[in-house]
Amino acid sequence: MHWINWVIVAVYLLVVVVDGLRRTRGTKNLEGYFLAGRSLPWWAVGLSVMATQLSAITLIGTTGQGATDGLRFVQFYFGLPIAMVLLGVTIVPFLHGAKVFTAYEFLEKRFDAKTRSLTSFLFLLSRGMSAGTIIAAPSVVLSAIFGWDLTWCVLLIGVPTILYTVIGGVEAVAWADVKQMVVIVGALFAIVAVLVMRLPVPLDDALRIAGSTGRLKVFDFSFTLTETYTFWSGILGGTFLMLSYFGTDQSQVQRYLAAKSVDEARSSLLMSAYWKIPLQALILLIGVLVFLFYTFTPAPMLYNPRHDAALREQQPAVYAGLEARYTAALAARDQAAREAATVQGDAPLQVFREQNAALDGVRKEALDAAAAATGESSRDVNYIIPRLVLDHLPLGFAGVFLAAVLAAAMSSIAAELNSLSTASVVDFYQRWVKPEGSDSHYLAAGRVATAIWGVFAMVVATYAATLGSLIEVVNRFGSFFYGSILGVFLLAMIKRTRALGAFVGLLAGMGAVAAVSFGAPQVSFLWHNVIGAVVVVVVGSALSFGRGEQDERPLRAG
């Protein structure tokens, strides 16, 4: 990569870290460190929520998905605006009004300590591991693209993030998120502009070609429990997933607890509601434009350079055979694409579709051969956009793009570390170990906890390849309780529900999702959250209203 690109990356890192280090004024006490003194404006909180959710793998993986699969993934986000509006009128006023540090603390005020501790523990378990995978995913890509050692990539992303998160607390995290969001969106628009200008045919004709392969098909109205990306799974399953994520996950809740007022907290969530679908559509559209770019420019057979080299070295004859067939198929598709762009009608598009399918067939064989040679899935889709940026975009773009990838990774990790630290200190250390400590003592504990979680995440990231199956187990376990925790919060909104109902309901919800997950694995994971939440509310309500004793602790919204 050219030195100018490295200068851009260095300037970005310097600005984010130095600004984070400067924001220590508000971190004299625990509320300042974890909640920025509940003083942030709605638009900063909103951008922070969006930056947290937009991880590096969204940036590189989703564009790759757009290139190979088209726009239909955007349906996954259809429930998001609905969830944000529902949260704005339900959970947000309760949480903000309760003046809590964590979402789980609210559950002790409403139910009891064991429900709080269990939900907080489940959060720490799943998010602790996912912080590692959030660092690992872009590190693996950077390591393969630049040929660096994985550990150095993990350190490049992890160390600056830990530094400004430990020192500046949530205020540094939120303001860094704002800058990171600007870098990310700027990079996306720049890439769109370059890709459109580089098309050798008019955009309208190019889109006709993309459309002929089904990549511009957005809406699928079929109602099936087994297909993940349909209009209905997005609207229903997506709403429950987003309700769980934004309503009960501390990494998100902590953002809007830092807002000045309930109205500002709600408005910050609506900012995500505003922009998430258009932004996600833009990211996928970039993928479609990348597909079109590589339709008229020779595309690599394998985008993952490490897998390409491994296959070439280990099975030179197989590689040469595949490469010859791939080159021929590429030339045939190129000719068909140019014909389809200039000649109107369905016949040339049909020829293009056939040639494109033939090319995909050869590429699939190459991917399978590479996977067999290396013993691992190539995740080739994650390498499409980095290769395009490095190989084809003008000078400076690679620097901006790399800065955007680092920004996306850092903003997500910072939020995870900050929220993991908050839950550890407030829900466990302060609650069970040392309830009578001074504010400065807890502030120091918060900093130590952030650093420990940061180091833990980097260790997990470094060993992510070997920990692969363990991480999958934890992620799968995580999907068992996401919807169930939402169910507990919904139960908290219902008058006269009780602690026993909440705790047993939570266990029943998790059990139900586990049963569906193992008993009917074909049911898409988007429906797991719906099942979990509904079971908790039904079981919890039945137990609450079916028993005589009262242990109700009503709580008013603020």
Binding site: V74, R208, G211, V218, R266, L270, P278
Partner: protein, 31 residues
């Protein structure tokens, strides 16, 4: 009207416009 309510109206408008644009894109270019 509170800030939340006025933002809510704008959210609805943007979502409808985005979905309409995606629908137009699909119906124009997908057979």
């Amino acid at each position: 009207m509170s800030h939340f309510q006025s933002t809510l109206v704008r959210v609805l408008v943007i979502q409808v416009m985005t979905l309409a644009l995606l629908w137009l894109l699909q119906s124009r270019y997908t057979a």
